[in-house]
Amino acid sequence: MPADSPDKVIDRSAKLVFSFFLSSAGLWLLMAALLAYLAAAKLTDPFFLSSYEFLTYGKIKVAQANAFVYGWGGNSIFAVSLWILARLSQAEVRGSVFLVFAGVIWNLAITFGLLGIMDGHMSGHEMLEMPTEVWPAMLISYLIITFLALVIHRSRQVRETIAPQWFILAALLWFPALFLIAWNGLEINPARGTLQTVLSMWYGQSLVWLWLTPVALGAAYYLIPAILGRTIDKYYLAIFGFWCIAALAPWSVVHHLEGGPVPMWIPAVGTVMSIAMVFPIAVASTNFHATAFMDIGKVWHSLPLRFVIFGTLSYTISSYIGVVFSLPAVAKITQFTIINEFHFNQRVYGFFSMIIFGAVYFALPRITGREIPKAAKSFHFWTSTLGVLMLLLAYLIGGLTHGVLAGQPSLPWSSSVIHSIQPYFLITKFAFIILAFSQFVFVVNVWRIIFPNPFVYFSAENKEASV
C-alpha cells in the first residue's frame, strides 16, 4: 500500500474514534455471544438457569438481538463508516471528543436499555424493546455522530461521490428517520390496534435493510477495489442497485405480515416488492463477484477480502432465499417458524458481521500500525465460517421441519412439532459456542492491538504512530 502521508494523517485523526467504537463494539459482541449461548442453551434445556427471572428466555433472547444490533452493529457502523468516509473524502476526522462523548452516551443508553429489558420494562415492539426512557439518549447521540460524519463528507477533496459513500451516508441518515417514525407512531402519538404491529414490524425489518445492510454493502464496495486494485466490474449498475434498495426495501419488509390481521394489501405489496428486490441483489452480486472472480487467488490470500466475499456471497444467497420465502405459497409453511432466526442470523452474522470483520482487519493495521497475529485471524475466519454455516443450516432445515410439521393439524404441538426440532436447537447451541470462541479471539486480539499497554495508551500515542 502506498503509505503516502495524507492517508496517515487521516488515520491518525481517526485513531481515537475508531479505537473507541471498535473496542466498545467488541464488548457488545462478546455480550451478545454470551446471551446467544444462554438463549440457545435454554432451548435445549428449559430448566437451565430457569429460576432467575432476569435470565428467562424471552428476556435474554430480546436482549441478545438488541445488544447485537445496537451494541455491536451500532458501534461497528460508527467505527467503519467514519473511517471509510474520512478516507474517501481525504479529510480528517474532526470533533473526536464529541464523537467519543456521543459514543459514550450511545453505549450507556444501550446498557440501561438492556438492563431495563432484563428488569421487566420491555416494550414488546420489534427491535424497540428497550424502555422508552433511553430512546432520546440514543437518538441524540446518534444525531451527533451523524452530523460529524456529514462534516467529514462535506470537506471531501473530490466533489464526485462513489458507491461506498452513497450506501454509508444513506444508512447513517435513514436510521434517525426510521427511529423517529417508529417513536412517533408507537409512543408519542400511539397507533391503535394492529397498526402498531405494522409499524414496529416495518421498523424492525427496515433497520436491517436500511441500516446494517447499506453499511456492509458500502464497506464491500470500498474494500473490494481497495484490496484487489481494480475498479468494480459493471460499476454503472451500482447506482441502479442503490436506488432500487432505497425505493424497494422499505416496501418489501412488510411481507412478514402475510395472513395476519391487517388489510390484505399490506403483505401483498410487501411480497411484490420483495420479488422486485431480485434486481438490487443481482446488481450487488454482479458488482462484487464479477470483480472478485477476476482475481480469485488474491481474494483467497487476503484475509479481509475473504471475510468480505463470504459476506457478499451470504448476502446474495440469503436475499434470494428471502425472496422465495416471501411468496405466499411458501410463506404458508415458513411463516412464524425458526426460519425467522435463519433470516436474522444470516443478515447480522453471515453478512453484516463478516464484512465488518473484513473491514476491521483491513483498517486496524493501517490505523494502529500493528498486525493481529496471522494464526488468530485465520482461526477467527475458519471458526466463524464453521459456526455461521452450522447455525444457518440448522435454522434453515429446522425451520422447514418446523413449518411442515406445524402444518399438519393432527400432530400435537409440543410432543411432536417442537420435539422434532429440538435436535436443531442443540446444533445451534454448539454453533453459538463456536462463534463465541471465535469472537472472543477476535475481540481479545483487537483489544490487544488497540491497547498494547492498557495503562499508558494515551501517552504512548506518538510512539505507535511512528511504526
Binding site: 428466555y57 462535506r154 466533489r159 402475510e258 406445524a406
Partner: protein
C-alpha cells in the same frame, strides 16, 4: 448523487413513499377502528342495544398483559389466527375464525408476535383450561408437556408449607419440594387472568366463524390412526358423507338431527358416534335407514323418545347404494370403526320387507324384541 442536499432529499423521498403507505395510509384506513356489533343493521350502522365487540378486558388482565410483554412471551407466542388461505391456524383449532384488525383495537400493547416456538395464544381463553392448569403450566410447563421448551417461571410462585385457601394444588415434579404447596404471586394471577381473557369468540361484520374446523381435524385423525383405507372403502365413506350432509334431493340430511359431529342433540336426537345401534347389527340399521323409527329407544344408556322420519329427500327415497354408502360412512367417522355395508346387503333386507307399506316407520318395539 454528488450534492449532499439533493442526495438526502432523494433517500428521504424513497423512504417517505413507504412511510406514506404503511404509516399514513394505513393509519387513515384502519387507524380508528372502533368496537362494533356482530351483525350490523342494514344501513351499516350498529344496532342501538347490541353488544359491542371486542370487549375490553378486566383491569387484572390488563396488568397481566404488561407482565406478558415484560417476560417476553411474545418471543415464542403469536396472537394472531391467520387467514385460511395463508396458514393452518384454523385447522389446528387455534381459533374459530381468522383474526381481524378490529380484534386488537382496545389493546394497549398489541403483541401479535412473529414466531411460534409455542402455539398461538389468540384464543387461549377459549380452550377450557382451568386457572390451576395455567398456573401449573407457568410454574413448570414440562410437568404437563414433557417435551415443551417453554421456560418454567418459578419466580412467579412461592413454595409454602401450610397452604391457605387460595393456594393451588400443583405438584412441582422436577422440584425437590414435593410436599410443599405452590402459591401464585399476584403477578402470576395477573398473567393467568390475561391468558383467560384472550379470546376471539365473537363474529364481526368483516369476518365470520369458519365451519369446517372440526371436520378437518376429524379427517386427519381417521387417516392417520387407521392407516390407509382401501380406495373402494374411502370412496364409499366419501360418498356417504356427502349424502349425510346433503340437504337436497338425493341426500339424506342426517346431520340436521344427528349433527355434523355425530353427537346428536342431548335429549332430542341420539348420537351416532359410539352408538351400539350404529356399530352393531347391520340389518336393524338398514331397516331404520329405509323406513325410519319411532318410539322410545335407549342409546348408550340414555333414553330418547322422538321420531325419525324415513331418511332421504323426499322421505324414504334413498336407493340401496345410497343407504350402503351413508351407513358405511356413519360406521367409520367420529372414531367409529366397523365393517362396510354393501348395496347387496341392503337389497337383501329390502327384499325381506317386501310386504311393508312405504313410509311406515318401525317402532322401537318391532326392532328391539326380535334382535335381543
Amino acid at each position: 448523487m454528488n450534492n449532499l442536499a439533493k442526495f438526502t432529499i432523494g433517500i428521504f423521498f424513497t423512504l417517505g413513499m413507504a412511510w406514506l403507505a404503511f404509516v399514513v395510509g394505513a393509519r387513515s384506513q384502519f387507524g380508528d377502528l372502533v368496537p362494533t356489533s356482530e351483525v350490523l343493521d342494514d344501513d351499516g350502522s350498529v344496532p342501538e342495544d347490541a353488544e359491542l365487540f371486542p370487549v375490553d378486558i378486566s383491569g387484572m388482565a390488563k396488568q397481566g398483559a404488561e407482565e406478558y410483554a415484560a417476560l417476553g412471551c411474545v418471543t415464542c407466542h403469536t396472537q394472531q389466527v391467520r387467514r385460511v388461505e395463508a396458514g393452518f391456524d384454523v385447522e389446528r383449532g387455534w381459533g374459530k375464525r381468522p383474526s381481524a384488525p378490529r380484534d386488537y383495537v382496545l389493546q394497549e400493547h398489541v403483541l401479535l408476535g412473529n414466531s411460534r416456538i409455542g402455539p398461538d395464544l389468540a384464543n387461549v381463553g377459549l380452550r377450557n383450561y382451568s386457572d390451576e392448569w395455567l398456573h401449573q403450566h407457568l410454574f413448570e410447563p414440562q410437568s404437563i408437556f414433557p417435551s415443551s421448551l417453554c421456560p418454567p417461571s418459578p419466580f412467579l410462585y412461592q413454595l409454602v408449607d401450610e397452604p391457605v385457601y387460595s393456594d393451588i394444588g400443583i405438584a412441582p415434579k422436577n422440584n425437590m419440594d414435593k410436599n410443599r404447596t405452590v402459591r401464585p404471586s399476584i403477578r402470576a394471577n395477573r398473567l393467568v387472568a390475561y391468558l383467560q381473557a384472550l379470546k376471539q369468540d365473537y363474529e364481526l361484520p368483516e369476518v365470520s366463524f369458519i365451519e369446517t374446523e372440526e371436520e378437518l381435524v376429524e379427517e386427519e385423525v381417521i387417516s392417520s390412526a387407521g392407516g390407509e383405507a382401501p380406495k373402494w372403502l374411502q370412496d364409499q365413506i366419501d360418498t356417504g358423507k356427502e349424502i349425510y350432509m346433503k340437504a337436497a334431493p338425493g341426500g339424506g340430511m342426517c346431520f340436521a338431527c344427528h349433527q355434523q359431529n355425530g353427537e346428536g342433540l342431548a335429549g332430542q336426537f341420539p348420537p351416532l358416534a359410539g352408538s351400539d345401534w350404529v356399530l352393531g347389527n347391520k340389518e336393524r340399521l338398514i331397516k331404520i335407514s329405509m323406513y325410519g323409527l319411532m318410539g322410545e329407544i335407549e342409546v348408550n344408556g340414555v333414553k330418547y323418545n322422538n321420531v325419525m322420519a324415513p331418511p332421504g329427500i323426499p322421505p324414504g327415497s334413498l336407493t340401496n347404494e345410497q343407504i350402503a354408502n351413508v351407513l358405511t360412512y356413519i360406521r367409520n367417522d367420529w372414531g367409529n370403526s366397523a365393517s362396510a355395508v354393501s348395496a347387496e346387503e341392503v337389497a337383501t333386507v329390502r327384499a325381506s320387507l317386501k310386504g311393508r307399506a312405504p313410509m311406515q316407520m318401525f317402532t322401537s318395539a318391532e326392532l328391539t324384541t326380535p334382535i335381543q
